[in-house]
């Protein structure tokens, strides 16, 4: 891996913790030092446990310490998941044998093995969810506690599925553990960067077109569903989006935009701004490996690269995280990528679903108009 200035994305260990901590019924133990523990613990805002190993355990072995911590958290009825960090992963200890007395899910997901998506996928694959062909409803997919929109996305998808009279199956990954054993045969997504691969994927819900397409498939699969209310709301709210964007364009030129986000959210942002604002999407800096895109796209790992791209493409509007916000020079900014520091966020705001698109457009337009007003004042 080449050197990188100010890395922007968390490691695989954090991804594994973000996946497993979402399940009620799992106790997550980070097997590593306090330094490794603090990051996911403060990022995810959920109870995590740690072995907090010190030098002694590296020299003389970590078995006693690991058994001490696992023994303490055992007996609650929860399944225990042990996630290894960098140093324990290369010590060569047979952790599985050490813990054979416990029903433990061992996730070998050290930081050097990849990024957050890799750790999330590995943890979920080890959890091995299964589909129950008789299970009713549709699973909600792509939920990761690292994502600042995860709570809002769940609420919005539950609302839309409810409108269509479709029960909610299992939410990956924010649900009761036992529901991973009886997932529904069908799934819709909120963020394709964290796909579970469970059930037949009916599409995502990022953007009006994607929602329409996914719910038409739901309508085809479920005879008892009634997607008409969803289609009606899609039509009404899209008209509203067109109205406000048209009003904006009567006064202002479309913004030139550079986007920094995971590939899935970035593509949504680009397509939405191009479709409704005729925005010029100048570059997408993807936090992970970019997929197929109609826009100029590349993997951007560090803030140094992001700064260079901002200087090169001189966007009017930047979509990204507060990392990018910290190097902006009086440009409009909308945050869709973690971290989003400098703002208090309490309400569960979605990015997926109809309300997610409305919220995104609303923030982007307000950011552009605020920027124009600031320019006028200057």
């Amino acid at each position: 891996m080449p050197e990188c200035e100010s890395p922007l994305w968390p490691c695989a260990m954090t991804g594994a913790a973000a996946c497993l901590a979402g399940f009620d019924g799992i106790t997550v133990v980070i097997h590593g030092s306090s330094g490794c523990y603090y990051y996911p613990a403060t990022l995810l805002h959920v109870p995590l446990h740690g072995t907090f190993i010190v030098e002694n355990e590296v020299i003389f072995g970590s078995e006693a310490r690991l058994l001490e911590v696992v023994g303490e958290v055992a007996g609650t009825g929860n399944r225990i998941a042990v996630i290894t960090t960098c140093v324990p992963a290369i010590l060569g200890e047979d952790i599985r044998s050490m813990l054979e007395g416990y029903d433990v899910l061992l996730v070998d997901s050290p930081g050097f093995s990849g990024n957050i998506e890799a750790g999330y996928a590995k943890a979920l694959s080890l959890l091995a969810p299964t589909v129950d062909p008789s299970a009713d409803g549709v699973n909600i997919d792509g939920v990761c506690m690292f994502d600042p929109f995860y709570r809002g996305n769940i609420q919005e998808l539950r609302r839309l599925l409810g409108m269509a009279s479709i029960p909610v199956g299992t939410t990956f990954c924010c649900d009761r553990l036992e529901k991973t054993r009886s997932a529904s045969p069908y799934t819709i997504g909120t963020n394709n960067d964290f796909q579970s691969g469970i059930g037949e994927y009916l599409g995502d819900t990022l953007g009006i077109e994607a929602i329409r397409s996914s719910f038409q498939k739901i309508g085809d699969r479920f005879g008892q569903s009634d997607i008409a209310p969803v289609e009606k709301e899609l039509m009404q709210q899209e008209e509203e989006i067109v109205r406000v964007c048209d009003k904006y364009l009567r006064r202002f030129d479309p913004p030139g935009v550079v986007i920094f986000a995971g590939a899935s959210y970035a593509e949504f942002a680009g397509q939405t701004l191009a479709r409704y604002l005729d925005a010029d999407i100048r570059y997408i800096g993807s936090r992970n490996e970019p997929g197929v895109s109609q826009y100029r796209t590349g993997f951007v790992a560090g803030l140094g690269e992001a700064r260079t791209l901002l200087e090169k493409y001189e966007p009017d509007l930047v979509i990204g995280s507060s990392f990018e916000q910290s190097v902006l020079k009086k440009r409009a900014f909308t945050g869709i990528t973690p971290p989003l520091r400098g703002n208090i966020r309490l309400a569960p705001v979605p990015l997926a679903g109809i309300n997610g698109t409305l919220s995104f457009i609303e923030h982007a337009l307000n950011a552009c108009m605020d920027s124009k007003q600031q320019e006028a004042i200057r």
């Binding site: 030092s33 190993i53 971290p339």
Partner: protein, 346 residues
């Protein structure tokens, strides 16, 4: 969770030496810090510095370069990756490069010092910071301060005072500094150098000029001792907490600098009496200290404040919860008392 005691005097929850060192080195302007390890370590710490900067109304975060070790380097060694990263940084417009190691690098046995000692046309300063294998967060802070101090040479003394080892990640870092500055100004003493907080690279050279060093916290005593040996500068071992300790701090500083501080101390005592008077409405209240973890010194200060205000401190559940985490000096107590009033009048 269990934090079982260890045979050595180490704390399991002591944090990471890398984070400690990183709370220091990016505060030297016109320098760059290289973190020799996987990207994740750098991201975790960069994210922390970023969050802290936003909390302190500073938007820009200094550059950190990760050597980006992956599985290949973990297996075959990462020294080449470190040399490449240093060479690349040396081509840029910096005054110096700090190199911090991580626990995984220490485990695989990379010789970081040897790589740093090669010729790059720029000072390259390795700082021992092997994650949890190098000790705790505080060891990282101390190691970084001593490594940077070693770059300075003894020089002619002036009337100024150095502030040593400010806790750059704490929420009230600027407020604590302002309070110390106020106390020193009332004694007629200027600040020579904030070592290290937003310090120009050239400012390191003036470190030895101060007549006195004031340490942020007693855990910095190894740094104070090092500076005393290197520059002959005596030190006061902590910022003051609480009414009485603030007055005795002023007396200690005045004594160490050979000045008469009586007038300044009396003015400060009058200010404290006015504060006590201002919060007289809290007298007779019953409160309980917030049960979140606090150190004994903070409890002492909170008990002192409760005592002078005639606030009854009861057992858990017998009164409103009040925070027992005072900030520096008289102003720190005043801010804590405002929070007490909010709680006691809630």
């Amino acid at each position: 969770m269990t934090l079982s005691p260890l045979p050595t005097n180490l704390s399991r929850a002591g944090g990471c030496t890398l984070t400690g060192a990183l709370s220091v080195t990016p505060q030297v302007r016109n320098t760059v810090t290289i973190i020799h390890g996987p990207r994740g370590c750098s991201h975790h710490n960069f994210s922390l510095l970023h969050a802290t900067a936003f909390d302190n109304d500073q938007v820009a975060v200094p550059a950190l370069i990760s050597t980006g070790l992956g599985e290949t380097e973990i297996i075959y060694g990462g020294e080449d990756a470190l040399a490449r990263a240093i060479s690349s940084a040396a081509d840029r417009d910096f005054c110096a490069i700090f190199v911090l190691s991580t626990c995984i690098v220490d485990t695989i046995g990379d010789d970081v010092v040897e790589v740093c000692n090669r010729e790059y046309g720029m000072p390259v300063i390795p700082i021992p910071s092997s994650g949890f294998l190098g000790g705790t967060f505080q060891n990282g802070v101390n190691n970084a301060l001593i490594a940077i101090a070693a770059m300075a040479e003894p020089c002619t003394k002036n009337a100024g005072v150095n502030i040593i080892g400010e806790m750059n990640l704490e929420y009230e870092v600027e407020e604590n500094y302002r309070e110390i500055s106020r106390l020193l100004a009332s004694l007629g003493l200027p600040i020579n150098c904030r070592f290290v907080h937003d310090l120009p690279f050239e400012g390191i050279g003036s470190l030895g000029a101060a007549q006195l060093n004031i340490l942020r916290h007693p855990a910095l005593c190894p740094v104070g001792t090092y500076l005393e040996q290197r520059f002959g500068t005596p030190f006061v071992c902590s910022f003051p907490l609480g009414f009485e300790k603030t007055l005795s701090f002023m007396e200690s500083v005045a004594g160490a600098c050979g000045i008469d501080g009586n007038l300044a101390v009396e003015r400060e005592r009058s200010l404290q009496e006015k504060i006590i008077d201002d919060f007289g409405d809290l007298s007779g209240s019953t409160a309980t200290f917030d049960p979140s973890p606090v150190d004994p010194e903070s409890i002492r200060v909170a008990e002192e404040a409760a005592d002078v205000l005639h606030i009854n401190i009861g057992q858990q559940g017998t009164g409103n919860l009040v925070p027992a985490n005072p900030a520096t000096g008289t102003a720190g107590i005043r801010r804590m008392l405002h929070r007490w009033r909010r709680s006691l009048h809630a």
